[in-house]
Amino acid sequence: MLPLHDGLVLGVLLLNFFVLGTSRLSSGIRSTALQGAALAALPAVLHPVWSFHKVLLVLGTLAVKSILIPTFLLRAIREASIRREVEPHVGFVGSLLLGALAVAVAFTVARRLPVASSESELLVAASIATVTIGLLVIVTRRKAINQVIGYVLLENGIYLYGLTQSDRVPFLVELGVLLDVFVGVFVMGIVLFDINREFDSLDSARLVHLRER
């Protein structure tokens, strides 16, 4: 009745909204983990032809996106002992509505793009929506952890787009991107620790003030 890959893509879209609507950092991180798991399952569901590269891609995505990065981020919020995004620049209701707008725009744009065959149209739309919502999270939230979450969402969106081109892009490139993301999040994590030590807070709004040490 419900094609499995459509369901997975829909789940990815809904998790975006969950990240936008929640103020609890840990549930935001957990939903990116769940999103990562859905993304890892997608190539296997979309083209059920197994090869060594595909197994590697699925396992690599699962390991990096839904285990390594979330564990790392959860550890980071534990170390910095922050739980909640208290006052985002744009309120939760506002950002949810902006997210809905982003989805509407994404679906309109995806229909006009020349790449979209009927099968990959949903993928392209979901990809554009996820990238936009990732940007939204980066721009509107104050806690630096949320900026990392936004970055992960952004990458998830790009990965979704990559799936539509999976017959053209070698899997090695995908794996390389995966590694890049992990290194990126790792570096951001280290920067977070430093910010926290210097400013005693992870509020990115305070980074505009220069301070001598």
Binding site: M1, L2, D6, G7, L10, L13, L14, F17, G21, F92, V93, L96, L97, G99, A100, V103, A104, A106, F107, T108, R111, E121, L122, A125
Partner: protein
């Protein structure tokens, strides 16, 4: 006018207090209590029907008419809802606007009754009720728009006439519509994440505080209308989700019962949302519905 559609409407109208009882009972069992008997609302209604009413001196003559208006509007909505195999009793193009309007009318009669009583507590509850409605109504219309696009219909009977069978490819959108309608049901009928029907503190009440000054048959009208609205919305969700095939009455009743149990489970497992966070929860319904709309526009 579809006289054959009258039987299922009367059946569901008769079952409405039982549906309410099912929700209460499920929630009570989950939270570790025994709960009130399933048929308690029937007994309450019977008791209330035999009582007299006391009307506050501050209220005007309008007050006496409002509870029956609440009930009449709810029954009108039931006549427009497609509950049986033959579709709704009254059917005309664009009747879904009338359906939403009657639900709104029923709510506003209740709100007005709250204000009419002259108590500030009830005015407060009334203002909260309207705040919730502000978020709930756009979501309802988005749901109806998505369903109209899926089925290509222009009245309630074709909108909710087994859309799952007609457009199996759009199942994701329909599931989202059902999710949005479910959030609406929780908001509209005052179930737990939105409102707590068992609370005893006036400051935290929404639905219960409005009816504080009502008594006797008036209270009975409002309580019965609430259970009828719950049943109606549950029936609409069931109509969206039923497996392919014509709407059979047993399916409908089973669907309504299943949704009542789900409402009870959700109510049992969740805590009440803080009032200032409520818009955030209700926006979820709007977002789900607009996502469904985006999927159908594809």
């Amino acid at each position: 006018m579809n006289a054959a559609g009258l039987a299922p409407v009367l059946l569901l109208m008769g079952l409405a207090p039982l549906v309410q009882g099912l929700v209460h009972r499920t929630r009570a069992l989950i939270t570790g209590r025994r709960g009130i008997p399933l048929l308690q609302l029937y007994r309450d209604l019977w008791k209330l029907a035999r009582k007299g009413t006391v009307v506050s001196r501050t209220s005007s003559g309008l007050f006496a008419a409002l509870p029956s208006a609440v009930l009449a509007a709810a029954i009108g909505a039931a006549l427009l809802a497609p509950l049986g195999p033959g579709g709704s009793v009254l059917r005309f193009p664009g009747d879904f606007v009338a359906f939403a309007g009657l639900l709104a009318l029923s709510r506003y009669a209740l709100v007005l009754a709250g204000f009419e009583s002259g108590s500030s507590f009830e005015g407060m509850g009334a203002s909260r009720e309207v705040t919730i409605a502000t978020f709930a109504e756009p979501a309802l219309f988005l749901c109806l728009a998505a369903l109209a696009l899926v089925t290509g219909g222009r009245d309630m009977s074709s909108l909710f006439g087994s859309p799952m069978a007609r457009a199996p490819l759009l199942a994701p959108a329909l599931i989202l519509v059902a999710g949005s309608l479910f959030v609406l049901l929780l908001a509209e009928t005052g179930q737990v994440p939105v409102d707590d029907p068992t609370t005893h503190l006036e400051l935290t009440m929404i639905h219960e505080v409005i009816v504080l000054d009502l008594g006797g048959p008036d209270l009975g009208c409002v309580l019965y209308a609430a259970s009828l609205k719950l049943t109606l919305l549950a029936a609409l969700i069931a109509a969206v989700l039923v497996p392919p095939g014509p709407m059979h009455l047993p399916w409908m009743v089973a669907g309504v019962a299943a949704i009542a149990v789900v409402v009870g489970v959700v109510a049992g497992f969740s805590a009440r949302i803080r009032l200032d966070r409520l818009p955030q929860f209700l926006t979820a319904a709007v977002v789900l519905a607009s996502l469904a709309l985006a999927l159908t526009l594809r």
